[in-house]
């Protein structure tokens, strides 16, 4: 009798959610079908327009590269960032740190499907897209969206952009590691991507976005793959998180050494490889621009690994391996806005600067102000990308990317965005705006989350480690 009751209970537990999900799927699909099934007249009109326009159809080469890039960018989060960050924390906080990236692959994907893509890329005002236009990805299918990428299905473009939305808040997790309550982390990142990321994404890359140089923005800012949208926004937010959360208990008196540098090195290697998709894929096609961005990415990472290690060698007497790997990541974050606009030697210089500037940001700047940005998100991503954005103002080259010579128009006259003081100031405005907006919004959201669920774990829980107290697991059992 008892077993029958148990069986019935299990069936209920399994069936009810399944039925609910199927119903949701059906409703969502029918909404889709209603929206996308065109009448005969519409289909004829479309056919006519297609036969007359010169718009190329889907280019399978472009689509293949974009899909491969999607996968590469997701690989940057898992396992790239998961290993990179996981190795840098104490052994009692490995799983919680990894979970911070992992959970976003679920959460942000969900938001992206619901309204995120729409807020970022649907038509709207200069600051945000209409969240209802592509609600539940309505109308986002095999047809290209010519505004963004005329040769690939809009669905591919949507997927590619989603991977960026996943990794950006995951970067912030490095600043809150080893002390944030998991509930607070989930709530904060949900709010953060909605309030900060989707609007910033729309401003930089959405049609009519305030800083969009190519699609009718007001201030022409060059940001190829997310210097402002991804790295400055996450870097500055990370700094605010570190300050609002406070230091880890015992920091900086107690030793908090990375528990496994080997994991971090594997992660850093995966990040470098994945970044070819991040920057190279941002060409949204498989042409010469993709190659140029790919090359800039590589040479900047190479230069920064060298310059960080050399600086450390001169400054501390030994070139550490973790230092070389940190330099790599700094070089990649720094060249992110510039790739696609700069020559290989320029990218190499950007990398050289990244290694030195970021080295002093994580050693001197952090020590001077005493904030506990546990895994140096601000020092590497924030400071790095600010450096890259500003250097790009001088190094942008119309020979590398001819579109910047004449795409942007002010008062009906084409304005060249090639390197110079004018473009430097445009870049600086975007850096300041992004920093103030992301930092200010993060501060408010953190206070809100603190009031609702409490940001930090109890100090005893912090001592015992987040793996055990937040997730009930340990990374290493003997």
């Amino acid at each position: 009798m008892n077993s029958i009751r148990h069986f019935a209970k299990s069936v209920r537990l399994l069936l009810l959610p399944t039925i609910a999900c199927v119903l949701f799927g059906l409703v969502a699909t029918s909404a889709h079908a209603g929206a996308i099934a065109p009448s005969v007249e519409e289909r004829l009109a479309k056919l006519e327009a297609a036969s007359q326009s010169a718009t190329p159809a889907i280019n399978t080469g472009d689509n293949a590269w974009l899909l491969a890039s999607c996968a590469l960018v997701l690989m940057m989060t898992a396992p790239g960032l998961i290993l990179f960050y996981g190795g840098l924390v104490c052994s009692k906080n490995v799983l919680s740190t990894m979970m911070h990236s992992l959970v976003l692959m679920g959460l942000v994907s969900m938001l992206w499907m619901l309204f995120g893509y729409s807020m970022a890329f649907a038509p709207g005002n200069a600051f945000v897209g209409n969240p209802l236009t592509y609600f539940l990805l309505k109308g986002v299918g095999g047809e290209p969206n010519a505004d963004y990428s005329a040769t690939v299905p809009q669905e591919s473009f949507m997927l590619f952009q989603m991977m960026f939305a996943i990794i950006t808040p995951a970067l912030i997790s490095g600043a809150v590691a080893e002390r944030i309550r998991f509930k607070a982390y989930v709530l904060f990142t949900l709010l953060w991507v909605t309030v900060v990321y989707f609007p910033l994404c729309h401003m930089a890359w959405g049609k009519g976005g305030y800083f969009n140089w190519a699609l009718g923005g007001k201030i022409p800012v060059l940001d190829f793959a997310g210097g402002t949208v991804v790295h400055i926004s996450s870097g500055v937010s990370a700094l605010v998180c570190a300050i609002v959360l406070g230091r880890r208990s015992g920091y900086p008196q107690e030793p908090m050494m990375p528990h496994n540098v080997v994991l971090s090195l594997i992660g850093a290697g995966l990040l470098w490889v994945g970044w070819f998709g991040f920057n190279g894929g941002s060409a949204l096609g498989a042409g010469t621009l993709a190659t140029s961005a790919f090359a800039a990415t590589h040479f900047s990472a190479a230069a920064a690994a060298l310059s960080w290690a050399a600086t450390e060698w001169l400054h501390k007497g030994r070139p550490s391996v973790l230092g070389a790997a940190s330099g790599m990541v700094a070089g990649l974050a720094t060249v992110t806005p510039a790739s696609g606009f700069v020559s290989v030697p320029s990218a190499f210089c950007i990398g050289l600067a990244a290694g030195v500037v970021c080295y002093f940001a994580v050693t001197k700047l952090k020590a001077r102000f005493g904030y506990d940005d546990s895994l140096d998100v601000f020092g590497v991503h924030g400071i790095g990308s600010m450096t890259g954005m500003l250097m790009l103002g001088f190094l942008a080259s119309a020979a590398v990317n001819p579109a910047i010579a004449s795409t942007f128009h002010a008062n009906g006259v084409a304005v060249s965005l090639a390197g110079g003081t004018a473009q430097f100031f445009n870049q600086a405005i975007a850096v300041v705006f992004t920093s103030v907006f992301a930092g200010g919004a993060s501060f408010i959201l953190l206070k809100l989350v603190d009031a609702v669920v409490g940001l930090r774990v109890h100090v005893e829980d912090e001592d015992a480690g987040l793996d055990l107290t937040q997730h009930g697991e340990r990374a290493y059992t003997e």
Binding site: M257, V261, E312, K316, S320, Y359, V362, K364, A367, D376
Partner: protein, 112 residues
């Protein structure tokens, strides 16, 4: 019956084990330990933050022997583990009252 506890540099373990085997010692217990004496610790630097590591990794070997073997064993360990540099370690000798072999329940010298 004597117990010998030797704390040695980890890379000398194999030499010490071979030296003890050569004089006919058949069993020992080995533990990875940490500590410091005159050698003190060292500094590690991660992203510019310096950490002083006071406790250095060492190996502790324990072996309980009949009285007649003990002096010989101590000499063998010293000879095998010596590098002449600071941090070579120490050997402690103490008296043991009795020993039992669990399987056969024999005790005394025949049990070690």
């Amino acid at each position: 019956m004597k117990k010998i506890e030797a704390i040695i540099k980890p890379f000398k373990l194999n030499d010490v084990k071979t030296a003890l085997n050569e004089i006919g010692i058949q069993g020992m217990t080995v533990t990875e330990v940490k500590g410091f004496g005159r050698q003190k610790g060292h500094t590690e630097i991660y992203r510019g933050s310096e950490y002083t590591v006071d406790f250095l990794p060492k190996i502790k070997i324990e072996s309980v022997l009949p009285d007649n073997l003990a002096a010989q064993a101590v000499q063998a360990i010293i000879k095998a583990a010596k590098t002449g540099k600071i941090g070579d370690g120490k050997v402690f000798v103490s008296t043991i009252d009795d020993a039992y072999r669990i399987r056969t329940e024999e005790h005394g010298d025949s049990a070690v």
